[in-house]
Symmetry: C2
Amino acid sequence: MQRVTIADVARRAGVSTATVSRALSGGRKVSSDVAERVRAAARELGYEVNPIARALRVSRTDTVGMVVPSIRNPFFTALVESVEHALGADGKELLLCDAQSDPDTEAKRLDALVTRNVDGIIVSPCHGTDSTPAVQRTAERLPLVQLDRFVGGTSTDWVGVDDIAAMRSVVEHVHAGGARSAAYLGARLTNSSSELRHAGFLRHANEFDVETGPQWTLLGDYSVEWGERAVGMLADSGRLPDALVCADDLIALGAVRACRTRGIGVPARVQVTGFDNIEFTRLAEPPLTTVDQPTRRIADEAVRLLADAAGGPAARDAAHVALVPKLVVRDSTRTG
Amino acid sequence: MQRVTIADVARRAGVSTATVSRALSGGRKVSSDVAERVRAAARELGYEVNPIARALRVSRTDTVGMVVPSIRNPFFTALVESVEHALGADGKELLLCDAQSDPDTEAKRLDALVTRNVDGIIVSPCHGTDSTPAVQRTAERLPLVQLDRFVGGTSTDWVGVDDIAAMRSVVEHVHAGGARSAAYLGARLTNSSSELRHAGFLRHANEFDVETGPQWTLLGDYSVEWGERAVGMLADSGRLPDALVCADDLIALGAVRACRTRGIGVPARVQVTGFDNIEFTRLAEPPLTTVDQPTRRIADEAVRLLADAAGGPAARDAAHVALVPKLVVRDSTRTG
DNA sequence: AATTCGCTGGCAATCGATTACACACGCGGA
DNA sequence: TCCGCGTGTGTAATCGATTGCCAGCGAATT
């Protein structure tokens, strides 16, 4: 398929392949008339370097791999889109993998990416501890940056938001709206985001004197279904808090929906908050107050870190970049 | 990075690299004791073939490229996930590109994929005519199958749903629910889906004696915003039809939302239907009646066609596989 | 006993680019 | 005149795997 090679260009321009390579990829000086002749020949023949051959020689593929827990989650989709965009600016390609929220397939995907000689890996690990070995092992071989979530026991670059600070603004906001008690609808504490958001919620609920309690801490997974079920459990349990703080938007969407079907007023009876600011939060009934994740900036930082790491690989301290997200206030909470 | 090579294994097993290659990839017979020795050596050294080197030699990368108009659209996300899944079964990788709904970047992406020696390409072209040259050119070089949408003027494989038949079931359904007039909220007719859905709507509205009209045909793009705006225009125009048939779920979600904010009862005053059955249709208020796209089967077919094409490349007739989708009835339409 | 055949395994070419090394040439200084 | 040096180009090795062709060997055939 790859018809025209560097040898063809060399023949046509009447020079050696070495010169062609130098003229095009510009490693060393080439006299300007020869360079022009080579470029002309290349243009006429429609020559393009074969990235495979180049990759074999220089062991660099201009491709970065990305592994996300689930491409179904619109938050990760947004992240992927942002990463693609950021890479495009550098002329790099994206090899995308879905871990299906399973550490084993995640490990397989990481290995596959390593074998394929990607230049670097961006991963949002699906599990806080079970993902550690694979991430660790991969990070020893390649530049790697963790996105959004990170695993314990490794020291790699990481970019994400400050979950604790975000939770502070959430709690502050519902408190200002009159909430004196709140439930936390989260995901099991198997990864860093889950842990930090939960911890942030507890800490700041305490700070603002918002009542919480174990019976008001419901941990499942990041899905609409779980949000619906959790509200069911709360409603059945007798006492309902003033606010439902959710660990992500999917849970919050489920919660709002369940409230509706049970006739629980939002925000009149309970205020509800989400996290991520995926597109569909606007469409909920009522539109969801949530924490906006700056996916664009997260992606840019990640790509930059990866580029840095590719430069001087050896002894560089790992960077942890935590962006402080903004609260987006909509109608699922009370203001003033 | 790629530490252990076939030569290391050969040395350790006391054979030549040729034998190692044959023992592992099994091109030709190797006596069983030698094969065992080689496998042992490979295992001990942790050897894995270098896909780059292999690709250079055999010019096959076990990677397929996919280009979608926008990864933001959950329908395409679902499609991507399904394709990834289907490829995984074949031990192939996915190189994903986003065309940002722009034929020029789409063309660039296609070229990039060709240069990278992917084994085949799956594309959902973003424009019915402007995408043609790039798709055509690409199809001449590589196995290519179009998904969901297709461009005019080429003869490549295609897999998608029968949009006309789908529209028939939609119109039949709202008619059965009492609709005697209907508006069509679609996207500008710049691609096949848009055209066919629109044509199907008109044809079957006519068949069922459902009133339509140019003032009730609103064409914009596939987005929530457009759905909202279109309903605004309809409401302002004076006369509202009995049903809003939308060309995709995003438009329908916007339409439903706009109806809500304007106090137009759904389905009491107007019935609303979507198309694609993305996850969030369940969450709308009311949940949306829509056409379910069998993404799993579409992806499976596409991957199968690609595999076929890779086998006997030359003279094979292009296949057009149209699956007939099912209507999913929820609460945004009236039943019986 | 000589020839042929089948089966295994090794040698070396090959894929297409990059690059270390060598070489040719021209020019200036000793 | 000779040497040294810089510049620009060519030669060939290299990346790591696959594979066409050939050689050796034992068994089978004549």
